[in-house]
Symmetry: C2
Subunit: 205 residues, 2 copies
């Protein structure tokens, strides 16, 4: 971390609200990463967009990579927490699978920018590779749940559990491409729609 | 286009196979765009990866943007062609929708690198904006088909046609993230799985 500069008055005022600053800096940084790509973004770009000095940014985050790491942890931590909720740990595998899908949609909507960044990670650094590892572990736990639901007889066994998981999460993850929190579709309606299509399909019975 | 340099012997040999070169240059360029991002790739990067001079590359493509344009056209042209096949234009809307989904999976598998590039386009230039416009037009035609299938009573009407189209294409498009032509799952099996999950869902009946 670079040495702390003597800040301007407005910087010192900001430093009086460290929690606010940290969140605000993170939000803006992640928006810039999603717009122009993480690799193509410099700390100077971020400071410029925030209207603060690089030193003010370094007061809260050690590096650009720490911003990435905190953002990816928000997305992954949210998804992992879904797997620990009572709805996802008690009851039939089929009910638990429904709860996990609903929970994942909620995390995508609540942490849209962080999940968007997560889904663009390609493994270009140790931080990115660690995130990909956590994503794989999450996918494996969901795949195991799909497999249990198949064994219960509640989920069709003629589609491989791994392929089924990837297709359904492809649907869930696609929300980052088109869902806007300002849109007419609320998160609950969206979760209902995802569950309807994933579990029952488009065809009328 | 920059003036043609007098080529080396090997370049002149290459120029004797213009169709081969053009395809080969395009394939390698698109792989590099997908790896490191289109904006972050220079013509010098491409020439370096191909092991040819920039002049040899300019002999076949006017600019980096022409490579992008040709690639996006391969992906979009393939998808648009699906809408004109007999299977997608004759019969019930429900059957036509099935044919479009199956055809789209086939295009993704056959043109994986080009579709991957298409799905990463963000509208940063006129070429990218034109591609996004064609993608929107394609989506609208599929949405109209979903709506017709709803009116027939073959597709559930309790999910908005636009949301249903986006979710199902989210599933189809997710293939670019994980499908590898070398994998155990063939294109036909994959298309069957996509249709099964999209139309009938994971739940057993």
């Amino acid at each position: 971390m670079p040495p702390c500069q003597t800040g301007t008055v407005s910087e010192q005022a900001r430093r009086g609200r460290p929690g606010y600053d940290r969140d605000h800096f993170l939000t803006v940084a992640v928006a810039v990463f999603n717009e122009q790509g993480y690799d193509a973004t410099s700390v100077a770009d971020l400071a410029g967009r925030l209207g603060v000095s690089k030193a003010a940014l370094y007061h809260h985050f050690d590096s650009k990579e720490e911003l990435l790491s905190v953002s990816l942890d928000r997305a992954l931590g949210g998804l992992e927490a879904v797997l620990s909720t009572p709805e996802a740990t008690e009851g039939t595998a089929s009910d638990r699978l429904g709860a996990v899908l609903r929970g994942a949609v909620r995390v995508l909507v609540d942490e849209l920018a962080h999940v968007t960044l997560l889904l663009r990670v390609r493994g270009n650094s140790p931080v990115e590779r660690a995130a990909l590892g956590r994503r794989r572990a999450f996918d494996q736990r969901v795949t195991a749940l799909v497999r249990s639901a198949q064994q219960e007889g509640a989920v069709r066994a003629d589609v491989d559990a791994r392929v089924a998981t990837r297709l359904v999460f492809g649907m869930v993850n696609s929300l980052v491409e088109w869902y806007r929190t300002s849109g007419p579709e609320g998160a609950d309606q969206l979760a209902d729609d995802v569950l309807t299509v994933a579990l029952d399909g488009l065809r009328t019975r």
